[in-house]
Structure formats: structure tokens, C-alpha cells
């Protein structure tokens, strides 16, 4: 297919058109929170008015993961009076995630692998199957917390249907899949001119100039480096400040551990089973009856998180459990940084 561009001014009309078939989620400016002196003023929301969509966004607290993996999901419904008749609850509707940064695209691919491997989880996968992803390339790192280049997530090869590359007043549109082609039906695309092609090239060069490696080693060596650090005192030292508040897990785009709870309706005739985010940093996470807790020290929990991100998930799925988005560091009051931790253990070897 011939290269095409979309004028930024035509974005709204395209979103409007998408909205007829799909539910569209995109980054928007959050409602005014007056004492907000930080930069994280954007959030992923369902689009009500296309004019609200802000593709100039940088970071968000939660990523688009929440539309694929909501923090609370009912997975099972049953009756409490008479025959229980338990039924799976699998909810999904056609949705477009518009403006997904490369790190989040990569993170979604990790989730796909985690939920798709071995015993597939249709609750996640049905949503995933019904989801179209419109990527948005980054010309520069969002802030100093992110290290996506190191984690190999700046240039995802797949996992999106369309990739938008912003350049001046237009987006260079790369169509990756048939679904991507369908999405564009209502867009006022224009064939890319020679100038546009040059602009695309300029973007790549600009990007190359803006992103720098920050880890002293390649990701593929992380498992080994982590292994060697298992008994290091580093964990103890870092964990002294950890609150075990779970913020890091909650905001991470690749975290998917969960807890379940059965709920009884107020009229006592129905019940359901809800799963919700859990966090390996919370004290009761690995506790079993009798009070035995297999990771009762903060340091062992913190180590577990870092290992999961840098080693276990990588070994299980072939994809790193961390995409370098920097969310965990940004969310942590104690200032615990996964990037710094990796740097520290790589250096201390």
C-alpha cells in the first residue's frame, strides 16, 4: 500500500467516525485537579468528545492496560438459591485504543503471552481479540524515569494495527494489519508526498538523537545479573524504604497478578466471583494458612518484583516483564527505581 498521512486537524473527524463502530479510548486531559503541580495530567479514558483527545500526551498513571485487564472483573456468576449453575462471565466489545505508546504496545504483547500460554485465559483474550490498537510513536523520552530503549520496547515489531508517527501538522500512517485498514475507512487520508517521506526520515533521526541507553548491559543479560545478585545486601538496603504499598505493581503495564473474592448480592440470591489486581509487594501475598509467609521480608518481596520484571517473565514468555515505561518509579513515594536498581546490581557484580 502507498504511504499515507493524516492531517492533525482531521484526527477529530476520524475519531468521530471510529466511534460509530468501536468504543474508543484515548489519552485526555484529566479534569482539573487544582493542586496538581506535576506533569501527569493525562489519563486514559473513554472518548466522549473527540476534541478532548490529546495525542501530545506524555505519561499517564495507568496505561491502556486497564481496558484489557480491568482492575475488577467478574469472571463467574452463579445462583445461591437452588441450582448454582456457575457460568463464566466473559465481557468484551469492539474497542480501539488510540494513541498507544510503543512501551505500552510491548507491554500488551507481554500480557498476551502470559494469558495465552499454557492454559489460555479467555476472559482476557476475548477482550484482546476485540481490541484494535493504534500506536503513537515517541520522538523523545517522556521523562527521565523511562528507559524503554534499553528494555527493547521503543520499536515493537508487531502488536499494533496502525502506527501513527507525528510530524509537524500531520501523522505519518503505517498500516500493519487488515483490521488497521478497516479502521481507516472513515479517515481523510492523503497520499504521502515526497516531503512527508522526508519528514518520516527526519523523525527517525530525531528519535535516534533523543533516546540514549541507560543500563550498562543488554536486557538479555539481566537474568544472569539478577541471579548473581540474589544474596546481595542491595535488596535489604533498597527495601528499607519500601512501604509495601503496592503502587508499583498497580501502575505497571505488565503486572497481572490477581486475587479473587466471592461476592454475595444484597438480596442473597446470587453470587459472583470477582478478580482484581493484586500486588506481590503486599505482605499477605505469599502467606498461607498457619501464618507461614514465604516472602515475609520487604526485601524478599522487592527482590521478587525485580526478578519477575527482569528475569522470570522473560524466561517464561521470551518477553521482558519490564518495558521501561518508568511508571513504577514515578508512582513510588520512596523513590525506588527499577532502572536504578538494575544499574546498581549490574555495577555491583
Amino acid at each position: 500500500m502507498l504511504p499515507q498521512v493524516l492531517k492533525k486537524g482531521d484526527l477529530g473527524a476520524w475519531i468521530e467516525a471510529l466511534g460509530k463502530t468501536w468504543k474508543v479510548a484515548a489519552p485526555v486531559l484529566k479534569e482539573t485537579s487544582v493542586s496538581d503541580r506535576t506533569d501527569a495530567k493525562f489519563g486514559w479514558e473513554w472518548v466522549v468528545d473527540p476534541a478532548e483527545v490529546r495525542l501530545d500526551y506524555t505519561v499517564t498513571v495507568l496505561g491502556p492496560k486497564k481496558f484489557l485487564w480491568p482492575s475488577r472483573q467478574t469472571v463467574l456468576a452463579y445462583a445461591l438459591a437452588g441450582e448454582p449453575n456457575p457460568q463464566a462471565v466473559i465481557e468484551h466489545e469492539p474497542q480501539v485504543l488510540l494513541g498507544v505508546h510503543p512501551c505500552d504496545i510491548t507491554a500488551i504483547a507481554t500480557l498476551d503471552a502470559a494469558f495465552g500460554k499454557d492454559v489460555p485465559d479467555p476472559h482476557y483474550l476475548a477482550r484482546r481479540k476485540d481490541t484494535a490498537i493504534v500506536g503513537l510513536d515517541c520522538a523523545a523520552p517522556c521523562d527521565e524515569s523511562c528507559f524503554c530503549l534499553d528494555m527493547g520496547s521503543l520499536h515493537p515489531e508487531s502488536g499494533y494495527d496502525i502506527m501513527l508517527t507525528p510530524h509537524r501538522d500531520r501523522y505519518f500512517v503505517e498500516v500493519k494489519t487488515d483490521l488497521g485498514q478497516q479502521l481507516l475507512a472513515g479517515a481523510r487520508l492523503q497520499p504521502a508526498t515526497k516531503q512527508d517521506m522526508q519528514g518520516r526520515q527526519a523523525f527517525t533521526e530525531e528519535q535516534r538523537g533523543n533516546f540514549h541507553y541507560q543500563l550498562p548491559c543488554e536486557v538479555k543479560y539481566l537474568p544472569e545479573i539478577l541471579d548473581a545478585s540474589y544474596d546481595s545486601l542491595v535488596w535489604e538496603a533498597i527495601a528499607r524504604r519500601c512501604f509495601s504499598c503496592g503502587s508499583c505493581n498497580t501502575v505497571c503495564p505488565t503486572c497481572y497478578c490477581w486475587d479473587v473474592a466471592d461476592q454475595i448480592a444484597v438480596d442473597l440470591t446470587k453470587g459472583c466471583r470477582v478478580r482484581r489486581y493484586d500486588s506481590c509487594q503486599l505482605d499477605p501475598f505469599a502467606e498461607v494458612a498457619g501464618g507461614e509467609n514465604f516472602r515475609k521480608d520487604r526485601s524478599s518481596r522487592l527482590r521478587h518484583r525485580m526478578f519477575r520484571k527482569g528475569k522470570y517473565i522473560l524466561e517464561q514468555t521470551g518477553r521482558a516483564g519490564c518495558v521501561g515505561c518508568g511508571r513504577c518509579e514515578r508512582a513510588c513515594i520512596a523513590g525506588i527505581s527499577i532502572k536504578e536498581t538494575f544499574v546498581q546490581i549490574a555495577g555491583s557484580r
Binding site: 493542586s35 503541580r37 495507568l62 528499607r240 512501604f243 444484597v266 500486588s279
Partner: protein, 250 residues
């Protein structure tokens, strides 16, 4: 099967928790079908001799309160403490940090002898309490959950993680990054979806401490953010004066 008999009453408090029960609105109706209300003074006339579950809000601050909670305990199978006043002493606990005679003198002057009071305390300081719903005020959602649990004999469990979890799930930027010393890091969650940080204000700790809070880190981090011990205690004492960690310093 006879319907279980519920009872609602209050000791010293603002009765906001009872109001939160009414604020469950139509969700209360199915519960009212399954249970009888033996007493709900704020909303209804009448009383009975025995209750299956008594929900009591408010702290104990007078000798008379002690008698009343003992009477209630004697009449009920299960006693549920509703709200911060009943579970942790609530804001009433603040007076315990002042000289009791001075407190009475400031308010009653030379007539203070007419008005005996004891150190403020939660229900569990005087009687056995079977379940607690913390918060100032309680969360109607949690009340409904506790009520369905009690009606079905399922144990009611409080979340054992800090407010940061629901706060992050609400997509909030942490208030610490905006310069507010939010107590959510060490406070037990369960207030969602009405949590203070979502409304732009730091958590003031009304649900008490989570199990095993990292108080060492709290001190370090708060100090880094430029807070003095005095400031920190003032923050914590509004609702958490009952904890050793909070009460002792100073």
C-alpha cells in the same frame, strides 16, 4: 426460620455512620426483607429484648457510655463496631492527648464537676467486638458487604493493604508528588470509591493503620519531604492516636 433481628445505636459521635447506612438507599430494602430492625433510634420508634446483630457507632467517653455498651453487649449475639469512633476512638481520641481536667475546664469552667468523662476509647476497650467497619464515616459499600456476610454467616474481612492501591487504580497522581503528606501509604484501604486522594485531598488516616506498616520508612520519607515530628504526629493523631507508634513519640 425467624428473621435475624438487627439493631443500630450510637454512643458519642456525629451519627454520620448511621446516616451512611441510610445512604445505602434502595440497597437496604432487600436486607430489610431478610431481617427485622429491633431498634434504630435515629430512624424508628421501638426496641426489643434481644438482637442478633447490633451495629454501634460512636466512642466511649463517659462512664454512662460504658454502661450502655455493656447493656447492648448483653442483649446481642454479635456486636459490630461502625466507624472510626467505635473502632479506633475516632476524633474523640484527640482529647486524650490533653490534660483531662484542663479539657473539662476549658469547656465547662467551674461547672466541670457536673460532667464526668473518661479517656476516649473504642468499643473493644470495654466489650468483645465481633466485627469492625472502620472509616470516618463508614463506606456504605462496606456496610452492605458486612451485612450480607453476617446474614449468610460468612466472615467479613477488611482489606489488608494500604489506600495507595485503590488510589493508583483510580488513576491518581500521588499527592506526595504534589507536596501533600498523604497518610494513605500506611492507612488501611477500603474507602474506595470515595477515597480522599481521588477528591484531591490527602488521606487523613480515618481507617487506621494497615497491618505491619513500615513506620521506619514513613519517618524517613516524611523527613525527606521536610516534615517535622510534630507535623507528622499532628497528622496521625487526628484519627490514629490509639496506636502505640503514634501515641508514644513526642
Amino acid at each position: 426460620m425467624a428473621k435475624p433481628v438487627l439493631m443500630f445505636d450510637s454512643l458519642s459521635c456525629c451519627e454520620g455512620c448511621g446516616l451512611q447506612v441510610l445512604n445505602c438507599e434502595t440497597d437496604l430494602l432487600p436486607i430489610l426483607e431478610k431481617a427485622d430492625i429491633g431498634r434504630f433510634r435515629e430512624a424508628s420508634d421501638g426496641d426489643v429484648d434481644h438482637y442478633n446483630v447490633a451495629f454501634v457507632e460512636g466512642s466511649i467517653v463517659t462512664p454512662h457510655d460504658i454502661e450502655r455498651i455493656q447493656e447492648i453487649r448483653a442483649k446481642t449475639d454479635l456486636l459490630v463496631a461502625l466507624g472510626a469512633c467505635a473502632t479506633h476512638g475516632g476524633v474523640n481520641f484527640l482529647k486524650n492527648f490533653q490534660d483531662p481536667d484542663d479539657v473539662a475546664k476549658y469547656v465547662y469552667g467551674d461547672k466541670r464537676a457536673w460532667f464526668p468523662h473518661v479517656a476516649a476509647r473504642p468499643l473493644k476497650a470495654e466489650v468483645r467486638v465481633d466485627a469492625e467497619i472502620p472509616g470516618c464515616p463508614i463506606n456504605p459499600r462496606e456496610f452492605l458487604e458486612a451485612a450480607t456476610c453476617l446474614l449468610t454467616g460468612k466472615p467479613f474481612k477488611l482489606p489488608n493493604y494500604p489506600v495507595c492501591v485503590p488510589c493508583k487504580l483510580a488513576d491518581n497522581v500521588c499527592l506526595w508528588h504534589k507536596g501533600a503528606a498523604c497518610l494513605g501509604v500506611v492507612t488501611r484501604a477500603g474507602c474506595d470509591p470515595y477515597l480522599c486522594p481521588s477528591a484531591g485531598h490527602k488521606c487523613i488516616g480515618c481507617r487506621g493503620l494497615v497491618d505491619k506498616p513500615n513506620t521506619q520508612a514513613a519517618k524517613d520519607v516524611m523527613a525527606e519531604f521536610g516534615l517535622t515530628v510534630d507535623d507528622i504526629l499532628r497528622e496521625f493523631r487526628l484519627f490514629q492516636g490509639i496506636y502505640k507508634e503514634v501515641a508514644q513519640e513526642a
